[in-house]
Amino acid sequence: VPRLYTRTFRLPGGKTMTLATDRVRAKPAVTPQVSFMLGQNALGLGLWGLLAPKGVNRFLGLKGTPQTTQVLFGAREMATGMALFSDPTKASALWARVAGDVFDIAVLRGLTRPSNPKRGNARLALGVVLAVTALDVIAAVRMSAVKRNCE
């Protein structure tokens, strides 16, 4: 009896689905998956920034207007998120994220000052942004190095 190669997928609600597959397949490429995941993460943050800017300001101790947060955080994250969701190989969107990360780091560093009562949250956010920035830079560098012959 020939061996049947299978793949198991998780479904919403905890169920699983097992499908037959072929043994002739390539190893998964990591960078596009990381890039797609970063895009989904950006969409989530973008929605938070656009729909609940006051909540963002409260969480971080920001004193700007909600509209400023919507434009500089929500819309920006949403734009790069949508770009990567539609095409995770788009290096320009990854570099745009890196530029946004630099801006976020500068703002969050300012918010870690002792006079900010939410400095603990700001430190936490800074740590997350630094980690995500590392992923953004790695993904952007690797995606920029891909040799494209169809453009």
């Binding site: 020939p2 061996r3 049947l4 793949r7 689905m17 499908l19 037959a20 597959t21 072929d22 043994r23 002739v24 397949r25 390539a26 190893k27 998964p28 490429a29 596009p32 998956q33 797609f36 539609s86 095409d87 995770p88 190989t89």
Partner: protein, 246 residues
């Protein structure tokens, strides 16, 4: 071996994959000598087809030479050295639909038929390089490929002549032919074909072979219209959609 692999939306790569082996006595291994790229490969590339998995090998329009044959396929007359075209669908030749000539809905060859039935209400045949809902089989945009149900799936072609003479039997010529056949063409009929891409061009030729009195080819791409003229010089009438609407 090298193969074109799907690594996610808009991400196709030429990568190293394991060589195919005989996994079942009905299998054959083909050395791929030519392959088309299908318009429907764009659906996979753009992420519109669910159940593609990272690492899947693409391609469903190849042809080549048989280099290894399983015992059952050999018993049915397939042998090493045969020159063959690989259709996009595989056929068992024994189920009710295959017996009726409806090979594209073979009830046996899709290994993931339960999923296809849940999605569509019924299943297609197993397809090469076209997601897991059609069986999860590796495709033919590769140096070698495994063909299950090889004796009933493969089309043997003569050893002479360029690959391009036979290659289009894999998908686009039968698609164009069937489009014309569905029109039930009579000798007095004038047939209009909208779109002169590869399938449209084969539909034009098929309509003429099936007896159409005249074929009107419609497109707004000059190069495609020129091809239509070249392929059917005595019968073409070309019109641009916008001017024909006025």
């Amino acid at each position: 071996m090298k193969a074109i692999c799907w690594q996610g939306k808009k991400d196709l790569r030429c990568e190293e994959v394991p060589d195919p082996i005989i996994e079942d006595p009905k299998d054959a291994i083909i050395r791929v000598t030519s392959t088309c790229i299908c318009g429907s490969d764009l659906h996979l590339m753009n992420g519109f087809v669910p159940t593609m998995c990272v690492g899947d090998v693409m391609g469903h329009e190849p042809m080549g030479e048989v280099v290894e044959v399983g015992a059952e396929a050999k018993a049915k007359g397939l042998k090493v050295g045969d020159r063959v075209v690989v259709p996009f669908q595989m056929t068992c030749g024994e189920c009710e639909q295959c017996q009726a000539g409806n090979y594209s809905v073979c009830q046996v060859t899709n290994r993931n038929a339960d999923l296809a039935k849940a999605f569509f209400g019924d299943t297609t045949a197993g397809l090469f390089g076209y997601s897991h809902i059609t069986g999860g089989y590796a495709g033919g945009q590769a140096e070698y490929m495994r063909v299950p149900y090889a004796a009933t799936t493969l089309i043997k072609v003569p050893q002479t002549g360029a690959d391009e003479k036979y290659l289009f039997l894999s998908d686009i010529l039968p698609t164009g032919w069937q489009a014309a056949a569905f029109a039930d063409i009579k000798p007095t009929d004038t047939v209009a074909v909208w779109g002169c891409g590869p399938v449209g061009l084969f539909t034009i030729q098929s309509a003429l072979v099936q007896g159409a009195k005249r074929v009107i080819a419609i497109d707004d791409v000059p190069e495609r219209l020129a091809k239509a003229r070249a392929w059917a010089p005595r019968f073409w009438t070309a019109a641009r959609p916008r001017s024909s609407q006025r």
